[in-house]
Symmetry: C2
Subunit: 436 residues, 2 copies
């Protein structure tokens, strides 16, 4: 079998990881593919920096179009990140009948439909295993391993930086700002890690997972997102006293002809398998109608795991090329789009239990005022803990509710926060109580 | 695209599960494949029993050869189990250029090489996702998702029945025999569940995983196996006091040009992610050189999860047929076999820490006699707990060792068990201390 030639656009952290995998595991990859897999060209604007990998510097070019137009290249690997240029290069490569591999979750979340449609039109395959969960082969599981199932429910810890921060806040009782500073100082987090901690990165990944689970791209803007920046060690401790851990969860669920798609801090029972996913690890929990509950766990980021995922796509494409497959398996794993269109349910309609921490003056009648407002909005309290005095005579009142509706909750909390006896904004954390 | 026709041999629990999946999810499967996937024929000796699934009884035949020879059938699904007949039917189907899907772990473990070679010779693909881990797509992960890695290490809880029994023994402190009886009465275990509890079933699965991880079939007989029948709630409790859980683990590790492949009860740290896999769940923990640690978790048996896995193979094969791929991806995921042959290391050479529970008379000098023999065999004690009196003046002496060699351990324990002060056979549990 003849050699497979790969061209890489973007020689940053992940690009260097891909070069490292293809070099270090050249022999095992050749055995698995049936031929050599060679790097033919690497485009990057920076030709100088040392990426810490041994390579032939003659492969480097500043011109991505050279990679796209090289007739010897069968697989173009886009690792430059960003939206506009990456989108342009991927579409041009597909128009040249090149298969494409990308790790670009933002691009797939925001312009997925256009790219998936182009792949179909040009009969090429798009690999994007590295776009979600780093080295965890979750895209492959959704596309192949679970392909006989209706997917009911996916819940993931999809951002390693925020999971690391929450783990430190939980285990060491430290405040958010302090942990973030440590993480930045230690090189575990970007400075500032905005897209990690505000939920954007996890929402990008959730958009891709939701699209795969239900067979149709969903608009990124329809995904609710809320980050971890407002969480305090107190709330994490109180959650623990109720038997819950706090995680930044990305959740999608089937609800008849609608789906939920949301990213926010959530309380999950301590004995739920996701509650024990700590540090920078990612995990995705999936329920299918036949397979039941499944969990996938591993490192969700970093040069090596992401390099592993990119190269697994290269290997799959190389095998397809060698076996003479014409056409391609569409990106979302559906040869025909599903008949019924899916719609993302507005966040207002979410129904779930809630955790509230009210800050109120320690005076008679406060709890009755608050619970009166809650009752007006059909929010019933499951349990309440009154904690010791905080500051200036204000006390935290910590409650768990039964199932309530998001819109009711937002309205009730707005009224409660306007009460003169309420001294600070109420903390709201959604509870994810699905059994495992 | 034209219809894909499937023939099924064996209409037991899993066969009925496959019919149920293909019927209930007919539409989503057709969307994913691009055409209908139809059941053309089902062979079983029993044409009468009600399997609890709606189906056209005209599809049934008592003659498996009718399925194999039907020119309209592209995919033959072997679900009859057993060795000789299943082997014959699979080889005959491959000779007819049919792709084959099987859930038969015993057959693949004991005759894998012959079947993998036949698939290669006839240019057909063998799907066996259902042979390991029920619905967990672990075969796909090894074949595709982790294909860019050297696999260093796989550790699995691969038998749900024995994991259920150990969970009950651990959580309820009940003896083995009582838990097994309950499990049989409740229908959770076969009566008797011999191949589950003696390690054979897990060893079959480990043989397949090891072969995939290292690219070459290993002989089933080279896999060490030891079951859970000798475990007591006392040992599980003492293990807990040392900070460990007891699980029936299936372990394979790369050791230079050799590999370990062994199934036995093992102590793992309570905070290891595998320690928290309970009830009838399975999980497989894999370390690759680039991906790092990965874990896959789900239901390892049962009609629905196994049906899900079989049908995922059918869908993958149907997609390959539609895309006009010629030839096939070999069973172990290697187009060329690896150059260096792998060899399974004899169990005698295993090096690991050990747990011993000695039963000895409560008299002076006993510990010194025992530890003297251990020292003669280069076994050094890491910690020791002397527990309250058991029976007839005998006391349990519970120890953890530093790393020792299996052969030394077996010899030392044989001598210790011959001491007149030792009143019962020493319990030996291997400790799996690899960090997560």
């Amino acid at each position: 079998m003849s050699k497979i030639n790969v061209g890489i656009i973007g020689f940053g952290t992940v690009g260097a990881g891909v070069v490292e995998v293809l070099t270090a595991n050249r022999e095992i990859i050749a055995n698995r593919v049936g031929s050599e897999v060679a790097i033919q060209r690497i485009a990057d604007l920076d030709l100088e920096s040392d990426r810490g990998v041994a390579m032939d510097r003659d492969l480097l070019t500043r011109d991505a179009v050279e990679v796209i137009n090289d007739p010897d290249i069968q697989i173009v690997v886009e690792l430059m990140g960003g939206l506009d240029k990456a989108r342009e290069f991927i579409l041009r490569a597909m128009a040249q009948k090149k298969h494409v591999v990308t790790a670009n979750k933002a691009l797939l979340a925001e312009h997925g439909k256009e790219i998936f449609d182009a792949a179909r039109e040009y009969g090429v395959t798009l690999g994007f295993e590295a776009s979600v969960g780093g080295g965890i082969p979750i895209i492959g599981a959704l596309k192949n391993g679970l392909s006989a199932n209706h997917i009911h429910n996916c819940m993931g810890i999809l951002n390693g930086t925020s999971n690391y921060i929450l783990t430190r806040m939980t285990q060491d009782g430290l405040p958010y700002a302090r942990v973030v500073q440590d993480a930045v100082d230690l090189g575990f987090a970007e400075d500032p890690p905005t897209l990690d901690v505000d939920g954007t990165d996890a929402a990008h990944k959730l958009t891709i997972i939701t699209s795969m689970a239900f067979g149709e791209p969903i608009p990124f803007d329809a995904v609710y997102r809320e980050g971890i920046t407002a969480l305090t060690p107190d709330d994490i401790r109180y959650a623990g006293e109720f038997g819950y851990s706090v995680k930044l969860l990305a959740i999608t669920k089937e609800l008849g002809d609608k789906v939920e798609a949301r990213v926010h801090p959530a309380m999950i029972p301590k004995d739920h398998i996701l509650a024990n996913v700590n540090e920078a690890f990612n995990a995705i929990y999936i329920e299918g109608d036949f397979v039941g509950p499944n969990l996938y766990y591993g490192l969700g980021a970093g040069r090596k795991p992401t390099g592993s995922a990119v190269c697994s796509d290269i290997i799959s494409l190389a095998r397809r090329i060698h076996s003479g497959a014409s056409g391609a398996i569409p990106a979302l794993g559906y040869m025909r789009p599903p008949q019924a269109h899916i719609q993302v349910q507005p966040m207002d309609a979410l129904t779930t239990p809630y955790y509230f921490r009210f800050s109120a003056l320690d005076s008679p009648g406060v709890l009755s005022k608050i619970s009166g407002i809650l009752a007006d909005y059909r929010i019933s309290i499951a349990s309440v803990m009154q904690k010791g005095r905080e500051k200036k005579g204000s006390v935290p009142i910590v409650t768990l509710t039964h199932e309530a509706v998001e819109q009711d909750v937002q309205r009730a909390i707005a009224l409660i926060d306007d009460l003169p006896v309420v001294t600070d904004r109420t903390v709201v954390i959604r509870v994810e109580d699905s059994p495992l």
